[in-house]
Amino acid sequence: MTYLHGMLGNPGQHAFLNALANNGWSVTAPSLPGFTGSSEPRGLRNLHDWVVAASELIDLAGVTGHPVIASSVGAMIALELATIRPEAFDAMVLIAPFGLWDPQDPVADPFATTLSNQRRMLTADPTASASFFDDLEEMPADLLVEHGVDRYLTRSASAQLIWPIPEFGISERLHLVKNPVTLVHGAKDAIIPASYLNKWEQILPNVVGVHRVEEAGHQAEFDRPEDIAAIATSALS
C-alpha cells in the first residue's frame, strides 16, 4: 500500500508504518514536495501543481493503482488526484482530510499559534509527535540546525497547501471519486471538527467504512498507530 503523509511529514521508521508492515503490508511512503527531506516545492504554485506532483510521484514509485492510506493534507491531495485519475489508487483510507469548510464550524487555524501549541493541535498526546518536533540528544550541532530547517520547511509546505482557508472547491468534484473510501477521524482532532466526518460521509459517493477513534488527534496514526493500522488492514485487504 501507499501511505501519503500529513502535516507531520513522512515519519520514516515509525510505529505506524511498522504496524502496517507487521500486518503483512509492503508500504511505500513517499515524501510530498517540501516535506521531510525532499527538495523545496519551488515551481508549485497552486493545488493543481501539487496534485500533478503526487501523480508523478506514485508513477515513479511504481505504486499506481495500489491501495492508499492518506492523512491530513496528504488525504486532501489523494482525493483531488482520485477525482481526475480514478486509477491512481485502489481503495482509500482517509484520515481527517482537509478540503471542506463550514463557516458555522470552521477548521481551526494551525498556523496562528506557537510551535508548542501547534504540536498540541496535531496529536492528542504531544509525545506522539516526538519524531517530528524533538531533536535527538546525540545529534551533532550542524545536524541539529538542519533538523530545525527541515522541520520549518515541512511546516511551510503545509502552510503553502492549506493557507489561509483549506477549501478549494473539492466538494464540486467529489462525485468523480468512485474508489471505496474508509473514513477515519480522531475524536480529539483539534484542527478539523468532528462534524466533518459526517460531511465527508454524506458527500463522498462510495464510503464503505467510518471510524471515530478515541484518544486520537488530527494525525490519528501517530496517536494510535496499531489501531489505525488495523483499521487500514481491515479496509484494504
Binding site: 506557537t114 540546525v145 530547517v149 511551510s156 502552510a159 493557507w163
Partner: protein, 403 residues
C-alpha cells in the same frame, strides 16, 4: 493589539480626531525643517491606523511643499496587481514634483499573512516579483507583457510616469531577513532596519548588511542604510524622563503586544534566515510580550507586573533620551557605529498628546538635527535621495471672489 483586536474598541469619532492629528503632526514636522516625513502601512492594528500610506502621502503632498515624502512603504505583495503601487507612487511623484521615496517592505506577518491572508510560503516570491514588475513598469519605454508566476498582464503601460528618472529612490524596510541584505546589496537598494528596539540591538543587523555590501565589492555608502529610532528630547534630561516615561511604557508594554502565534508563520522566513538563527523584530516583540504575559500570570495576587521599565528602555537603547546635547551625542554614536546615513525618528510614540509630539518634534528639528545633519556628507554622495524638479508646480488656488 494586532490582527484580532476587538472591533468594538474602535471609536469613529476618535478616528476622525486621530487622523487629523497625525496629519497635523507630520505637517508640523515638515514646517520644522525635517528633510522628509514618513508614512508606513499596517493592517488590523490598534496603534498605527495606517492601512494605506499612499492616502496619507496624498494628503501631505500639497500641504508640505518644502519637504520630501517617504512612503515606507507599500507592502507590494498585498496589491493586486502591484502596478497599483507603480501608478500611485508615480501620481504622488507627479503631484509633488519629484519629492517621493518609494519604500517596498514585505510587510510584517501580522499585516500580510494574517490580516491579508497571503500565503507565508510564497509571499517573498510574490513580493520580489511585484517589485520587479514595478521597476520594469517605471523604466521600460514601451508597452510590454509581464508573464509572472503571480501576475499576468498582457499590457503594462503605467500612466503617469514618475517625475524622477528612472524612478524615485527605492528603500527596502527590513526586519532582519539575511536574504534581504543580499538583495539590497546586489541591487543597490537602501536597506532600512525598522526596529522597535533601538540602535544598540540593531547594530548586529546593520553589520550583517554592510558585510554583504562589502562582499559584493561595492562601497559601503552610509546613505544606503537607514534606521528607525525612538527619540525623547527635552530642555533638560530630568524633563525628558518626566515627559516621556508614560508614553514609552505604554507603547512598549501595552501597544506592542504581539501574540507569539502571529510572529512566525511557517514559510515567512527564508531557509537561510532560519539556518542563521536570526530573530526577526516581530519575533522579538512577541517574545517580550509573552514574557510579560507570563510574568503577569506568575504575579497574580502578588502585585501588578511592571513590564520593561523606562530606565531599561533607555539603557538598552530602545529610546534615545536626554537634553539636546545628550541626544545629539547618542544619534552621532548611532550613525557612526551603524554606518547609517538615513535616520527615521519616532517623535510620536505611545499615548503622547499632540502638544508633547510637537515639543519633541520641534526640539529635535531645531536643536539636535543641526548637530548631526551633515554627517557623512563630505565623504559620500547620497544616491538614494529625491531629485525634485527645479521649478515644480505648486498649489495655486485663487481666493474666491466675494461677489
Amino acid at each position: 493589539m494586532w490582527v484580532d483586536i476587538d472591533p468594538a474598541l474602535y471609536d469613529p469619532e476618535v478616528g476622525n480626531r486621530i487622523y487629523n492629528e497625525y496629519l497635523d503632526e507630520l505637517e508640523f514636522a515638515a514646517d520644522c525643517g525635517f528633510d522628509a516625513v514618513g508614512v508606513n502601512e499596517h493592517h488590523s492594528n490598534g496603534y498605527g491606523l495606517m492601512p494605506s500610506p499612499n492616502i496619507i502621502a496624498a494628503a501631505l503632498s500639497r500641504n508640505c511643499p518644502d519637504t520630501n515624502i517617504v512612503v515606507l512603504g507599500d507592502s507590494v505583495a498585498l496589491y493586486n496587481p502591484p502596478l497599483r503601487v507603480a501608478e500611485e507612487i508615480a501620481m504622488l511623484d507627479a503631484i509633488t514634483g519629484g519629492r517621493m521615496v518609494a519604500g517596498f517592505p514585505v510587510g510584517s506577518p501580522m499585516d500580510t499573512i494574517f490580516a491579508y491572508g497571503q500565503n507565508p510560503a510564497t509571499i517573498r516570491e510574490r513580493y520580489h516579483e511585484g517589485v520587479d514588475l514595478i521597476r520594469q513598469a517605471w523604466t521600460r519605454d514601451e508597452v510590454f507583457s509581464f508573464n509572472g508566476k503571480y501576475n499576468k498582464l498582457r499590457y503594462v503601460n503605467v500612466w503617469p510616469r514618475p517625475v524622477q528618472q528612472p524612478h524615485p529612490p527605492i528603500w527596502i524596510p527590513g526586519g532582519g531577513s539575511v536574504d534581504t541584505w543580499d538583495w539590497c546589496a546586489q541591487e543597490d537598494l537602501v536597506y532600512c532596519y525598522l526596529s522597535y528596539f533601538g540602535y544598540k540591538a540593531g547594530l548586529k543587523t546593520m553589520q550583517g548588511f554592510w558585510k554583504k555590501v562589502q562582499e559584493t565589492g561595492k562601497e559601503a555608502n552610509p546613505f544606503q542604510g537607514g534606521f528607525a529610532q525612538f527619540i525623547a528630547v527635552a530642555d533638560t534630561e530630568k524633563e525628558a524622563w518626566d515627559l516621556y516615561r508614560e508614553p514609552a511604557e505604554y507603547f512598549f508594554n501595552t501597544c506592542l503586544h504581539v501574540y507569539a502565534g502571529f510572529a512566525d508563520p511557517p514559510g515567512y522566513k527564508t531557509p537561510n534566515t532560519v539556518r542563521a538563527g536570526v530573530e526577526g523584530m516581530v519575533e522579538r516583540a512577541a517574545r517580550e510580550a509573552t514574557a510579560r504575559a507570563e510574568a503577569k500570570k506568575s504575579s497574580a495576587g502578588g502585585g501588578y507586573p511592571k513590564g520593561l521599565s523606562f530606565e531599561e528602555m533607555v539603557e538598552k537603547g530602545y529610546v534615545i533620551l536626554g537634553n539636546p546635547t545628550q541626544v545629539a551625542e547618542q544619534v552621532h554614536e548611532l550613525a557612526t557605529t551603524m554606518h547609517i546615513g538615513h535616520l527615521m525618528t519616532f517623535c510620536h510614540f505611545g499615548n503622547m498628546n499632540k502638544d508633547l509630539v510637537r515639543y519633541n518634534t520641534e526640539m529635535y528639528a531645531t536643536k539636535v538635527m543641526p548637530e548631526v545633519c551633515d554627517l557623512f556628507e563630505d565623504e559620500y554622495e547620497d544616491l538614494w535621495w529625491p531629485q525634485p524638479l527645479a521649478q515644480p508646480a505648486l498649489r495655486d488656488v485663487p481666493e474666491v471672489s466675494a461677489s
